[in-house]
């Protein structure tokens, strides 16, 4: 069952939270090491926050929670966050 949308849905909030435009940003997953655009992550919104999961391994990369109009970002499953697109295709 697919309850996710893609990362475009959270680029606004995520950019706002980090104070930089992440439109072309990429993440390196701590779980599997793959690199991908933030736009490619699988985003779960029907929950108490926004959960970004790795498109390769499904692991949680980022959790964003809005608390009193502030955005709390947890990057627990991220090895690297780049403000640019992923450089090369990952070797898996």
């Amino acid at each position: 069952m697919n309850h996710y949308v893609d990362g475009n849905a959270v680029l606004g909030a995520f950019s706002l939270a980090l104070g930089t435009d992440l439109s072309e940003g990429s993440l390196e997953c701590a779980g599997c090491g793959s690199s991908h655009a933030i736009a490619q992550t699988r985003v779960y919104l029907r929950c108490p926050g926004m959960v970004l999961r790795c498109p390769e391994c499904g692991g949680v990369e980022v959790v964003i929670v809005e608390i009193d109009h502030r955005l709390n970002v947890t990057l627990s499953g991220v090895l690297a966050l780049r403000v640019a697109p992923p450089r090369a295709s990952p070797t898996r």
Binding site: N2, Y4, V5, D6, G7, N8, A9, L11, G12, A13, S15, L16, G19, T20, D21, S23, E24, G25, A37, I38, A39, Q40, R82, V83, A84, P85, S89
Partner: protein, 267 residues
């Protein structure tokens, strides 16, 4: 797509971070409502200082109830780069936001908007020609792309809708097909193709209609029309998650490197 972070050196030296003005909430007044289908309306908005957009970008829309309750949703921009922002909202039965935006909101009323947002599912003109594959209201950001394309440029559109009455932008597609730069194939997943007499005098006359879900033959023909896989066309797929997955599968089956496909999924 640019290659590095949005940090740039100034002549005086040092780093400058581009200000994020466009991520603040701004008032957007409804300037025009276009009834695309019985339950999908395009809202053309008037936003002071709208910076323009790149085809494929989206905006966040925020609504506030009198008691302070707020709801935020993301919508793709259906407007071309130099146009005022336009959103096509498909009513989701039982939804909280879309019925209001389709049924209730009137010209002159305001919502809050932030954006444009997005740098992945965008067409900057770098890869051409364009192959645009849309399911249902997934056509919205694709309209922004065909509007962004040079009129001399071929654009191949593959659309999937349940029945003809649910096709967004039918008149515009028909006009572009008649003008010669767009070719459009429309699959009707839950309806038969209406006969010629029924289509006479309607926009459907200009469109190539097929019954059933988008088939591999349609995808192969569309790719060929774009010059084949070696031509490295700009391929954009947008629609419900299951539709997008199916289309990526078909495109990959037709020989396209899945990594070259830009996809946007919703719901």
């Amino acid at each position: 797509m640019t290659d590095g972070p949005r940090l740039s050196g100034t002549r005086a030296g040092g780093l400058r971070v581009a200000p994020l003005v466009h991520l603040a909430w701004r008032k957007a007044a409804v300037d025009l409502v276009v009834e695309e289908t019985a339950d999908a309306h395009t809202l053309v908005l008037d936003v002071a200082g709208w910076p323009g957009s790149v085809a494929g970008q989206h905006v966040d829309v925020r609504l506030t109830a009198p008691d302070g309750y707020q709801a935020t949703r993301s919508y793709s921009l259906a407007s071309g780069p130099g146009e005022p922002p336009a959103l096509t909202v498909q009513e989701v039965p039982g939804g909280e936001v879309s019925p209001y935006l389709v049924r209730d909101i009137a010209v002159g009323e305001t919502v809050e908007l932030r954006g444009p947002i997005g740098g992945y599912f965008v067409w900057t003109g770098a890869r051409r020609p364009l192959l645009l594959v849309g399911g249902g209201s997934g056509l919205a950001p694709l309209r922004a792309m065909w509007r962004a394309a040079d009129p001399a440029e071929p654009v191949v559109v593959v659309a999937s809708v349940t029945e003809p009455a649910r096709l967004l932008y039918a008149v515009e597609l028909a006009e572009r097909v008649a003008a010669g730069n767009v070719s459009a194939t429309v699959h009707l997943s839950r309806a038969d193709v209406p006969d010629d007499a029924e289509r006479l005098g309607t926009p459907l006359q200009a469109l190539s209609l097929r019954t059933g879900r988008v088939a591999s033959t349609t995808v192969t023909q569309a790719l060929t029309a774009c010059g084949g896989t070696e031509a490295d066309p700009g391929v954009f797929v947008c629609g419900p998650t299951t539709f997008v997955e199916a289309m990526i599968h078909l495109l990959a089956g037709a020989g396209l490197d899945p990594r070259s496909i830009r996809a946007e999924r919703f719901g």
